[in-house]
C-alpha cells in the first residue's frame, strides 16, 4: 500500500515559486496498479518521484505499507522500491546479469542467491538466461532492454514499484506485447505499483485505478470504468476524448452483457417451424441453427424461411462469427461492424451456444452508466479533490 498525505512540491524558479504538486492525498491499495495520468507539466511525474525522494517533497508525507517513510534513510527507502524509468537506464558498463542483480548486491545477498535470482527473473520476462545474462545492454533491442529494466526493478522483490512512463519509448507493437506480459506477471506478483502515463489507452488497459492530474492537482481518482463513465469535470472529459464511451468497450467483457435467452432451430426442423420460431422470439432477420452438441452450425434467414419449403439442414447460411464470454466488447463491436449484423451468438469453452449478444444490449449496458450524470452522485473512492 502506498499512501500520500498532502504531498506538496514547490519549485523555486527565477519567475517565482511554482507549485508542481499541490497537497496530493491518495492511496494505492496493495496489489493494485495506479496510473498517474495527465498532460505534461501536470505534476504526475513530480508526485511519483517524491515517493522515492528523487524529488524532495516540500511538505507532506509518504506512507508505504502503513509506515511513514519520512524517517527512513534515503538509500534504504529506494532499495525497497522498484524503479523503472522511460529511458530504461541500464548501466552500459555492466552485463545483463550485473544490471539485474545490482540491487541484491547492494543489499549484500550472497553470490549463489543473486545468480539464481537473475535466472529466475530472466525466465519470468521470457528471455533465455544462458543467451542473455553475459551480454551487454547495447547488444539488446529496445524492447528487450526495457524487459531487463523491469527485471532489475523486481530483483530484490520489493513490495512497491514506481514506473515512470516505462513503455513510452517502445514502438507500438512491442509496447502492447510488453504491456500484456507485464499484466500477466503482475497477476502473479501482486505488487503495489504507481505508474506514470500520458496515454489514456495505456491507463485504461494497465490501471486498476487512474488518478488524473491537472496543474499540480489531483482532479479525479477512480477505476478506469468510473473514470470513463463519469468524468468529474470538463477537463477530465476533454482529456479522455470524445470517444470515451468507445474506450469503455475495452473494459467490459461479453460475460457482463450476454443474454442467455436465445432461440435456435435444429437441422431436422422444417423451414416453416423456423419461421414460426423467428416470429416467436421477435427476431428481425435470422435464427441460429445448432447441432446435437448445441454447437452453432448455420443461420436460417427469415426471407428464405418465408419463401421456401424444406428442411433447415438444406437451406442454411454460414455463421458469420461467434464470441466467447471472455472477449471484450471492443472485439464484439468490431465483428458486428465487419459482418453487418446486430447480434452475435456467444459460445462457451466447448463451443456450445450459451447465449447471444446484441447491439442493443451493449448500448444499454454502456449507456446505463452514463445516465446518472449529477456531479457528485458517483462515489469516487479515496479521492481527495480540492476543486
Amino acid at each position: 500500500m502506498i499512501r500520500l498525505d498532502n504531498l506538496t512540491k514547490v519549485f523555486d524558479t527565477p519567475k517565482g515559486p511554482v507549485t508542481a504538486a499541490d497537497h496530493i492525498t491518495m492511496e494505492v491499495p496493495s496489489g493494485e496498479i495506479c496510473i498517474l495520468l495527465g498532460p505534461s507539466g501536470c505534476g504526475k511525474t513530480t508526485t511519483l518521484k517524491m515517493v522515492n525522494r528523487i524529488i524532495r517533497p516540500t511538505s507532506g508525507k509518504v506512507f508505504i505499507n502503513g509506515e511513514d517513510t519520512t524517517g527512513l534513510d534515503t538509500q534504504d527507502l529506494r532499495r525497497s522500491i522498484g524503479y523503472v524509468i522511460q529511458q530504461i537506464g541500464l548501466f552500459p558498463n555492466m552485463t545483463i546479469e550485473e544490471n539485474i542483480t545490482v540491487v541484491p548486491r547492494l543489499l549484500g545477498w550472497d553470490k549463489a542467491r543473486y545468480q539464481e535470482r537473475a535466472r529466475e527473473l530472466m525466465r519470468m520476462i521470457a528471455l533465455e538466461p544462458d543467451a542473455f545474462l553475459k551480454r551487454y545492454p547495447s547488444e539488446l533491442s529496445g524492447g528487450q532492454q526495457q524487459r531487463i529494466g523491469v527485471a532489475r526493478a523486481l530483483a530484490a522483490d520489493p513490495p512497491v514499484m514506481l514506473m515512470d512512463e516505462p513503455f513510452g519509448a517502445i514502438d507500438p507493437i512491442n509496447r502492447a506485447v510488453i504491456q500484456d506480459e507485464f499484466l500477466k506477471m503482475q497477476q502473479a506478483l501482486k505488487k503495489t505499483i504507481m505508474f506514470v502515463s500520458h496515454d489514456i489507452d495505456e491507463a485504461i488497459k494497465m490501471g486498476d485505478r487512474v488518478a488524473v492530474f491537472r496543474e499540480g492537482r489531483l482532479v479525479q481518482y477512480s477505476t478506469p470504468d468510473d473514470l470513463l463513465a463519469a468524468p468529474r469535470n470538463a477537463f477530465v472529459e476533454s482529456f479522455l476524448g470524445e470517444d470515451r464511451a468507445l474506450k469503455r468497450l475495452n473494459l467490459v467483457k461479453v460475460r457482463e452483457v450476454v443474454s442467455d435467452e436465445i432461440g435456435t432451430v435444429r437441422p431436422g426442423d422444417t423451414l416453416e417451424q423456423a419461421l414460426a420460431r423467428i416470429d416467436d422470439f421477435g427476431y428481425q432477420n435470422s435464427i441460429l441453427m445448432v447441432n446435437d452438441k448445441h454447437q452453432p452450425v448455420g443461420l436460417i434467414t427469415r426471407a428464405l424461411a418465408r419463401t421456401t419449403k424444406g428442411y433447415c439442414r438444406d437451406h442454411f447460411q454460414n455463421v458469420p462469427a461467434t464470441v466467447t464470454l471472455e472477449d471484450d466488447l471492443r472485439k464484439v463491436a468490431s465483428l458486428m461492424f465487419a459482418q453487418d449484423t446486430t447480434w452475435l451468438p456467444c459460445v462457451d469453452d466447448e463451443g456450445r451456444v450459451c447465449g447471444q449478444i446484441t447491439q442493443r444490449a451493449m448500448t444499454h449496458h454502456l449507456g446505463s452508466r452514463f445516465r446518472p450524470t449529477q456531479e457528485d452522485d458517483t462515489p469516487i473512492p479515496d479521492a481527495a479533490t480540492r476543486e
Binding site: 538509500q75 524503479y83 524509468i85 537506464g89 558498463n93 555492466m94 547492494l106 547495447s138
Partner: protein
C-alpha cells in the same frame, strides 16, 4: 587487378629501397656511428622514461581526482571557471612553462618534472571532467533511484562509463609528455634531448638522430601501451574498440 599488381610492384620497390638504404648505411659507416652512441642512448632512454613516469604519474594522480571533484554537483558553481583556468593554462607553451619553473625551482630534475607535470595535468583533468559530465542523466537517475549512495554511483556507474574518455586523455597527455621531455635537457634534467640538442649544436645529424629516433619510438610505444591498457581495463559494454 591492376591495383593488386601496383601494390605488388610497390612492395618490391620498397624492399629494394630498404635494401639500398642498408647498403648505403653500412658502406658509409652510419651504422657504426650509431653504435658509438648506443650506451648513451641506453642511459638517456632510462632517464627519459623516468622523467615521463614521474611527471606523468603525478599528473594522473592529481588530475583524475581534480576532474572528479570538479564534476561533483556541489562544485557546479566553480567547475566551469576552473576549467577555463585550466584551458588557458594549456595555451602556455611547454617551453615557457619549463623556463618559468626553472626561474623558481632552479636547474635540474625537480623543475623539469614540475613543468612536465603541469603540461600533462591539463588534458587528463579536462577529459576526466568531460567524461564524467557526459554520463547520461538517465543513468544517474536510475543509479540514484535503485538506491546507490553517491560514492557507489561514482565508482560503479560514473567512472566505468567515463573511463574510455579518461583513458583518451591519459593517452594524449602521456604521448605529448614523451615528446616534450627532450626540452627538459635545456634546464639540465637530461633525457634524450641531450643527444638531440647537442647534435643540433654540433651540426652532427647522426648524434641528433640517435636522440630523435628513440624519442619517436618511445612515443609510439607509450601510446600503444596506454591504448592496450584501455582496451583491457574499460568494460566491454562501453568500449567502442571492443564493440
Amino acid at each position: 587487378m591492376p591495383i593488386q599488381r601496383l601494390k605488388g610492384v610497390l612492395r618490391i620497390l620498397l624492399l629494394i629501397a630498404v635494401f639500398l638504404g642498408g647498403v648505403w648505411s653500412q658502406s658509409s659507416g652510419v651504422i657504426d656511428d650509431f653504435r658509438f652512441y648506443l650506451p648513451d642512448v641506453q642511459y638517456l632512454t632510462v632517464q627519459h622514461l623516468w622523467l615521463t613516469a614521474v611527471s606523468g604519474g603525478l599528473a594522473i594522480l592529481v588530475a583524475i581526482p581534480l576532474g572528479i571533484a570538479l564534476s561533483r554537483p556541489s562544485m557546479v558553481r566553480f567547475a566551469e571557471s576552473a576549467m577555463q583556468v585550466l584551458n588557458v593554462g594549456t595555451t602556455i607553451p611547454t617551453l615557457a612553462v619549463l623556463a618559468l619553473s626553472m626561474s623558481f625551482l632552479g636547474i635540474g630534475t625537480v623543475p623539469a618534472v614540475f613543468g612536465l607535470f603541469v603540461a600533462t595535468l591539463l588534458p587528463i583533468a579536462r577529459n576526466t571532467y568531460a567524461g564524467l559530465k557526459g554520463v547520461s542523466p538517465a543513468l544517474m537517475e536510475a543509479a540514484a533511484g535503485i538506491g546507490m549512495s553517491p560514492t557507489q554511483r561514482l565508482l560503479k556507474v560514473e567512472l566505468p562509463n567515463a573511463l574510455y574518455v579518461i583513458f583518451a586523455g591519459i593517452r594524449t597527455a602521456l604521448t605529448i609528455n614523451v615528446g616534450t621531455v627532450p626540452l627538459a635537457f635545456l634546464i639540465g634534467a637530461g633525457g634524450l634531448g641531450e643527444l638531440i640538442f647537442t647534435g643540433i649544436d654540433l651540426y652532427d645529424p647522426v648524434m641528433m638522430l640517435a636522440g630523435a629516433i628513440p624519442t619517436a619510438l618511445l612515443a609510439i610505444v607509450v601510446d600503444a601501451l596506454v591504448s592496450t591498457t584501455a582496451f583491457v581495463v574499460v568494460p566491454r559494454g562501453v568500449n567502442p574498440s571492443r564493440a
